[in-house]
């Protein structure tokens, strides 16, 4: 509301021809990818200032988690970045496993790597589809959704849900792959590189695409660090930083892949980085599938992993009788999980997703803090849009690849 008052104050006593034009873009605008509201100060069609306003999708996930046990919290993580639920599940599970000091079986690690790379492909396909549609390429949109549908069908076979998977569990995964799923994944892995070539044929050298993306929203290496960008946005600016390489989790230490980097840090470079990442993800899935046959028949859940229904509070009766009063029932609260804190971060498709959890010994997290990439990236919009046209704003929102469920939590 304060913004509206400010506008009124600014507009008072000024010649109507000289005053800047104020425009609200969103929260219902289709190309803001959700419920993002942008308060624009325009001069003609050039953006002077852009204030992103978030909070329209706030559900209080961090607070909700304080009333749910560790396994139930994973269900909440599906709703963060709802395009790549599996990756979020992995982040939560990793933090909780560090807290509980669990060792995940190798087969579960491989399966987690496969599903989180599938999530990356899903997310990047949806990004490419909507980004291309915003800029004006309709065919890419249709092709990408066709291929994403294939992956969603595989997800449905794996875990019974297409969008909110809740597939990962503290200590492993919920269900082993069926043999048909592995066959289908092999078919996908063989076919998918051809599909990427199709997208590249359509837009990679297309002159309209180049004009809309080259030298738009250039972020230098230093600026990218200062803005706190992570993921493909940071790599597009020429920084070779990937959590999968620097702090390998799950099975990433045993697979080979390359980290693509851009040179100019413009929208086109970020597009190229993501396209190469699609191929790399495909390669990682292939390697993991090959290794999956080595661990045939192994359990996918650690033996000492907590039950889905964790006990709320365990009271122990003190065994030693009191010398005078006889047996004393002094209830002593037993720790279900160790008291302490744990931190885990993963390379989610959008950037670095970190989870920090503090435990007080009960089965519920005492405090859960989530650092989501979209929230940080939205704050960079203001810097990146300065001096650009209003039509480029749509391309900038697209290139940052934001999801409002992720940012508002």
């Amino acid at each position: 509301m304060s913004l509206v008052l400010e506008v009124n104050k600014k507009q008072k006593g000024k010649d109507s021809w000289e005053e800047p034009f104020y425009l609200n873009m969103g929260p219902q605008h289709p190309s803001t990818h959700g419920v993002l509201r942008l308060f624009l100060e325009l001069e003609g069609e050039t953006i002077v200032n852009c204030d992103p306003i978030i909070g329209y999708l706030h559900r209080g996930i961090e607070k909700l988690a304080e009333n749910l046990n560790y396994n139930q919290t994973i269900v909440l993580s599906d709703r963060l970045d709802y395009i790549s639920s599996a990756a979020n599940n992995v982040a939560f599970a990793l933090a909780f496993e560090k807290l509980l000091r669990l060792e995940v079986p190798r087969r579960a690690k491989l399966i987690r790597t496969i599903v989180s790379e599938m999530a990356r492909i899903c997310s990047h396909l949806l990004w490419l589809a909507t980004h291309a549609l915003d800029i004006g390429a309709m065919t890419v949109f249709l092709y990408c959704f066709r291929d994403r549908e294939w992956l969603l069908n595989i997800y449905e076979r794996i875990c019974g849900a297409r969008l909110t998977h809740s597939y990962v569990r503290v200590g492993g995964v919920r269900r082993d792959f069926e043999p048909e799923v592995i066959e289908e994944l092999y078919r996908f892995v063989e076919e998918f590189p051809k599909r990427i070539t199709d997208y590249e044929t359509l837009i990679d050298t297309n002159r309209i695409w180049l004009k809309r993306t080259k030298n738009i929203a250039v972020v230098s290496t230093e600026e990218a660090f200062n803005l706190g960008l992570t993921g493909p946005c940071l790599r597009g600016s020429g920084v070779s930083y990937d959590v999968r390489k620097f702090r390998p989790y799950d099975a990433y230490s045993e697979v080979e892949f390359e980290v693509p980097i851009g040179q100019n840090g413009d929208t086109y470079d970020r597009y190229r980085v993501r396209m190469i990442e699609l191929r790399q993800s495909n390669w990682i899935i292939k390697q993991c599938l090959d290794r999956l046959s080595e661990t045939e028949g192994e359990a996918v859940l650690a033996e000492n992993s907590p039950d889905l229904l964790m006990p709320e509070k365990v009271r122990e009766v003190s065994a030693q009788p009191h010398p005078k009063l006889g047996v004393m029932f002094k209830p002593k609260e037993k720790e279900i999980v160790p008291v302490g804190e744990a931190f885990a971060s993963i390379e989610s498709p959008k950037g670095e997703l970190s989870v920090y959890v503090v435990s007080d010994g009960s089965s519920r997290p005492w405090r859960l803090r989530i650092r989501t990439p979209s929230f940080v990236h939205i704050s960079a919009i203001s810097h990146m849009t300065k001096g650009h046209m209003i039509a480029d704003l749509v391309a900038i929102i697209g290139t940052l690849d934001i999801v409002l469920g992720d940012s508002d939590r």
Binding site: R157, G160, A161
Partner: protein, 183 residues
């Protein structure tokens, strides 16, 4: 020279158009034209509409009213009422009413997994709507009716993959679950 030719003759755009034309002429369409005739079927294990398994013996639910599903539910959408009855001098707990509010459910399937007697199932049926809130509030009768509707079309014996997930160590399941062969 080459770049000039590419610039003048719109090579890259023609290449893109050739690709879409090729796909249009020689590839099978992926879209379904008539939804009424071809209904997409979900894969086994899809977490869809809730149902309570109807027991062959008692024609009622198998549920033993242990409240495990009620406690594991992240969105607290399962409501169980129990009554205490006296039978042969022993006090017993019996299920009086079982209800699920489907409009609150998040379809995680935890309830199916923790049930010690395989009484609850998220069926593969997904095409259901409600015109008001009461339509999506499934009480015990409604849940049993859902099961009848589902099992009439499904293959017998039916076994839900979440009753005993593949790859989970056997000792984590109850004895009933370990022996279960389907209904």
């Amino acid at each position: 020279m080459k770049s000039l030719v590419e610039k003048v003759f719109l090579i890259e755009i023609l290449r893109g158009l050739a690709l879409t034309l090729k796909k249009l002429l020689f590839e099978k369409p992926v879209t379904i034209e008539c939804y009424d005739k071809v209904i997409p079927q979900s894969y086994p294990g899809f977490r869809g509409r809730h149902a309570l398994v109807r027991s062959e013996l008692t024609q009622g639910p198998i549920c033993v009213a242990c409240h495990r599903c009620e406690r594991v539910c992240p969105s607290k959408c399962i409501y169980i009422k129990t009554v205490e009855i006296e039978e042969e001098g022993k006090r017993k707990r019996q299920l009086a009413q079982y209800a699920i509010d489907a409009s609150r459910c998040v379809y995680c399937g935890y309830c199916v997994e923790v049930c010690p007697v395989n009484a609850l199932v998220l069926t593969e049926f997904y095409q259901y709507v409600g015109e008001n809130r009461e339509d999506l509030y499934f009480d015990q009768e409604r849940l049993l009716k859902n099961w009848d509707e589902f099992i009439a079309k499904a293959e017998r014996p039916y076994f839900n993959p979440f009753w005993k997930p593949k790859g989970i160590p056997e000792e984590l399941f109850s004895i009933v679950k370990r022996k279960a062969k389907g209904v």
